[in-house]
């Protein structure tokens, strides 16, 4: 450190015109012999990787064409040609081909809803109405059967829109469930408390895959004769229940981190339990746990791909199915790479957004 500063100052004295960037590099990467050696080795490795990656992903890659062309460069270049060929199947899976504009439009409505809700100035009484309207439109588009749209049974839905449906409802409903569970676990009423503890520990203690399995195989056994819940709904319930149990512990962490004095002040002012919870406790407790909460949301988003085991075609499984076409067999890694990028975009957006919102909400705390 001391060396670094000396180098900067020496540099400044010798070359007063040196730019900020050069100064930074000199101070942080080449401040001593050891640092310099380390920097050079890392730069070499990074360069080598980039060189290989550009060769594989750009120069040697096949961007367009038949599977046979891809086979020729297998191992040397990526096969992006699979995307122009298969993108409709990856994005919309088995949804009737000529009607695929409907899930496409549904995805756009989802994007609009996300963007609309992301802006704090829209956080008012209109927001629920906008969501209800948006979700109704999506339901009409996806199912059809009215307005001259052909009916499409849920079994044929798939691709991106399925991932978005599962994770949007998953997050939107797991969140209130988690809050109730966390409050219940801290309740003074023994019955409620033990119910919540048992639920959380039980659900958290088993893999999501087994929950999905149970939801799809065992759930129908408990339902009265004649009532059937479709597969998607069963998967959705399993995901909500699972994420809710995880998130409940995150929320409880926030409730516990809040000083006792906040509860006492609310009580002393005569606020009822629900008033205090809604206006004093939750706003502070949730703010404290934004990072682990978003962590859970991101986990949930990616876990939706586990619905594969009960035969639902979300975007990842659609991609997998796409390359099971004999012509394209063996190009799994290339397809997964592309689909991973889509996942990454969503997760990164969530992460960035949570950082921003955390910053905004904590403005009141600047001390």
């Amino acid at each position: 450190m001391a060396n670094g500063h000396a180098a900067v100052m020496g540099g400044n004295a010798g070359r007063p015109t040196e730019s900020k960037a050069v100064q930074w590099i000199r101070a942080n990467l080449f401040s001593s012999w050891w640092n310099t050696a380390l920097s050079l080795v890392l730069l070499y490795l990074l360069g080598k990787f980039l060189f290989w990656f550009v060769g594989w992903g750009v120069t040697n890659a096949i961007w367009y064409g038949a599977a046979t062309e891809c086979r020729a460069v297998k191992g040397i270049g990526a096969c992006w040609a699979v995307f122009p060929e298969k993108w409709r199947f990856i994005l919309f899976a088995t949804y009737p081909y000529e009607d695929q504009w409907r899930p496409a439009l549904s995805c756009l409505i989802f994007f609009f809803l996300y963007a609309y809700s992301a802006l704090r100035r829209n956080w008012n009484t209109r927001l629920p109405a906008v969501w209800i309207g948006g979700l109704l439109a999506i339901a009409v588009l996806m199912w059809g059967g009215i307005l001259g749209l052909a009916f499409v049974p849920q079994e044929r839905w798939g691709g991106l829109v399925l991932t978005l449906i599962l994770s949007t409802f998953g997050i939107a409903l797991a969140f209130p469930l988690a809050i109730l569970l966390a409050l219940g676990r801290r309740s003074h009423m023994p019955a409620i408390k033990s119910l919540c503890v048992v639920y959380i520990e039980l659900i958290r203690g088993v893999p999501l895959i087994s929950l999905l399995f149970m939801a799809s195989v065992m759930f129908p056994l408990f339902l009265p004769e004649g009532i059937t819940i479709d597969k998607l709904l069963r998967a959705q319930i399993a995901i909500i229940g699972f994420a809710g149990a995880y998130l409940a512990e995150v929320v409880r962490g926030g409730l516990q981190a809040l000083p006792k004095g906040q509860y006492e002040a609310a009580d002393a002012l005569g606020l009822s339990y629900w008033q205090a919870t809604r206006m004093i406790i939750l706003p502070q407790a949730l703010r404290l746990v934004i990072p682990p909460m978003v962590n859970t949301f991101i986990g949930l988003f990616k876990d939706t791909s586990l619905v594969l085991i009960i035969g639902l075609l979300d975007i990842l499984n659609a991609a997998k199915t796409a390359v099971s076409d004999p012509a394209w067999r063996g190009f799994g890694p290339d397809v997964y790479f592309g689909v991973s990028l889509i996942y990454f975009v969503f997760c990164f957006a969530m992460s960035k957004y949570s950082q921003r919102i955390e910053g905004e909400l904590n403005k009141s705390k600047h001390r």
Partner: protein, 255 residues
């Protein structure tokens, strides 16, 4: 002065504790407490650390639960009935050692929250009342700041104003100045003295003996969960009866 006091004694007490007992597990914190506070009275409670002062006044608004004995506040008997508890909390204001302001709300929101939601006062009226009390505690200019942006003394005055906005009949203070830097103690005590002069019924746990001498009608000394001695301030300080009181007073007055 004495005529006023005589007139007051004919009324029923605002707060009445009869043979009150409380345990924390095995530990007997409050032992057969008999205590009363009449309308307009200012009572100072003092005693060594751990003697149960906080516990006693926190029983009065049910932040702590007593096990045996009776506790009657403003004619309402405190039981497990949630309706009674909420009714009493509306009438009893409390100021804490560590202020306990709501950090995510502005000063004005801190002051208007309970009147709007508990007393169902219209927002505009609640804000007017809030500004009135902020002026009384001399910080109207801080209305739109967040608690974290204020000094300790200012925060405690906001906390006092927050309680006053509920128009309570009784104010409880639990060591309101002991978390403050010395130079801020006076501004808070001045606010409390002013409040006392206006006739508020007050019970105040404090070691500020100057405050006790200035405004108290009665000083209560507690030790090991018992009320050892209670008297008017002048005889209490000049002529304490109990050995424990004498020891305590010599310790806090000579430091």
């Amino acid at each position: 002065m004495s005529a006023v006091k005589a007139a007051q004694t004919t009324e029923a007490p605002m707060i009445e504790l009869k043979k009150l007992n409380k345990w924390y597990g095995e530990f007997h914190v409050l032992k057969n407490i008999d205590f009363e506070c009449r309308k307009g009275q200012k009572i100072v409670v003092c005693g060594p650390s751990g003697s149960g002062k906080s516990t006693m006044i926190r029983c009065i608004n049910r932040l702590e639960e007593h096990q045996t004995g009776d506790l009657i506040v403003d004619g309402i008997e405190l039981t497990n009935d949630i309706k009674n508890i909420e009714a009493i909390r509306r009438e009893v204001g409390m100021v804490f050692q560590h202020f306990n302001l709501f950090p995510h709300l502005t000063v004005l929101e801190n002051l208007t929250l309970a009147p709007i939601w508990v007393r169902k006062v219209p927002k505009k009226e609640a804000e007017e009342t809030a500004m009135h009390f902020l002026k009384r505690v001399r910080i109207p200019e801080q209305a739109n700041k967040y608690p974290g942006q204020l000094s300790g003394g200012q925060q405690q005055r906001v906390a006092i104003a927050r309680s006053l906005c509920m128009k309570p009949k009784i104010m409880l203070f639990d060591e309101p100045t002991s978390a403050l830097d010395p130079e801020m103690v006076k501004e808070v005590l001045d606010t409390m003295i002013e409040l006392a002069r206006e006739g508020m019924t007050m019970i105040c746990v404090t070691h500020e003996m100057g405050f006790a001498k200035a405004v108290a009608d009665k000083v209560v000394f507690m030790d090991k969960g018992e009320i050892v001695e209670a008297n008017e301030p002048e005889p209490f300080f000049s002529n304490p009866q109990n050995e424990r009181t004498k020891l305590f007073l010599s310790q806090i007055l000579n430091h």
